[in-house]
Symmetry: C2
Subunit: 252 residues, 2 copies
Amino acid sequence: MQQAQTSHDTLQPLVSKLGYRAELSAEDRAALLDLPFTERPLERGQYIVREREKATHSCVMLSGFSVRNKLVESGDRQIVAIHMKGEFVDLQNSLLVVADHSVQMLTAGTIAMIPREAVVEIARERPQVAMAMWIDTLIDASIFREWLANIGRRDARARIAHLLCEFFVRLPIAGLSEEAHYELPLTQEQMADATGLTSVHVNRTLKNLENEGLIERPNPRAVRVGDWKRLAAAGDFDVNYLHLPDGDIAWF
Amino acid sequence: MQQAQTSHDTLQPLVSKLGYRAELSAEDRAALLDLPFTERPLERGQYIVREREKATHSCVMLSGFSVRNKLVESGDRQIVAIHMKGEFVDLQNSLLVVADHSVQMLTAGTIAMIPREAVVEIARERPQVAMAMWIDTLIDASIFREWLANIGRRDARARIAHLLCEFFVRLPIAGLSEEAHYELPLTQEQMADATGLTSVHVNRTLKNLENEGLIERPNPRAVRVGDWKRLAAAGDFDVNYLHLPDGDIAWF
DNA sequence: CGGGAGGTTGACAATCGTCAATCAGAGTGG
DNA sequence: CCACTCTGATTGACGATTGTCAACCTCCCG
């Protein structure tokens, strides 16, 4: 079943992630690693799925960042989620058949494409795998809800602070940063699309957070958290919505 | 397993709904109807689950309306979903253990409370039921994404029009209205909490839609759709995100 | 060296929020 | 039947957060 060009461990990031969601037996893990897939390198800006198309595969991020976004009539874009290594990007699109949003690469990276039928089959055969994927979907939904509250009821300053906090927590868990600084994979315009603001206002808000010492920015894209407590307070940030396993939330 | 005071058909609205999501055998349906539950009448404003609490039951709406909401630090409320008859209200809360949002009755109504373990068990034993519930969760998430785009990237007029369109489509499917008019279960303040606006602005926006003939309002809570095409256009409304079975979307 | 994408800044406009008063309708007790 | 009260709807005046427009800057890359 396996593609020749890839090793048997390619899907390991996925297995690790799902292993947090539900107890998986050795057989469950082996079955996941044995899922058929095609590895595909993608460039920055490339589309994985387009709104209204029928998706035939589910994708797992192996490296790089991607976003899910929707277009509104005015032509404006709303980014509804950001995905990183190990995450399942469009279970929804392939199970729901007609995609209700697009998925686009934010940076260059690689994905593993798993045929829709293989996902359905493993879910049918292995209840614990199905449960883990279901819980993964539930956590996705929890993040959407938090974003709704963020965009609907917080001002620009809090929205940006909240987004920075979310990266600050999620990146190290995906093994993508250490210590208190990281490189943002988003342009200011993309941050605007994620927070319901404009790029101009995002720029001003970042400057503001910097002036007050909540963050430092060695360069426009790098963020160093100057004062975690104050940043979290400014963003009204409470990790609960990420539903992290106990071990990961020790210090937040 | 069944509670004495309730009939064997009480959960039928749930079975019908899940039956749309995936093929269910007669045994699957019987197993769902046999789920243990407690029927509970609730008053307007009563809480079913509170943020940060541990939920022990999943609830199915039997009558009335409920909302899921989150509070932000300023004390403002964001309504993230509205539920009606037949819908599973907090699968998420019970599987994720710690609730990331509250669930509150919008009107008086009754719910069926199913113990968390019974839900997990039926999902483990019956792959098709698990699949249906999973897909249900995916559709919930699709609605969250549409709301994100609505709140993040549309102006007040479009947000309100979109909300009215969503009710206009969902109510008859739940068997709760006919023809082109319905009674809104939301106060204007609640509409504001659902759209990220203020009640004052909701009021002005409704007047505006009325003046332009997109809707009529025999009384403040009743809505009669005056011109569906123009209302849908004003709200940038596209039913796709509700992922309705083909039979239901004929005329939208 | 030139081009382009993205970041930064200022002046100005507008959507939307705040505050506060008034109104309409439903329920309640006398 | 009539105050009385309470919630929700309505309206106006005013203010502010955020958007628009446009210029310029900076860095990277071919």
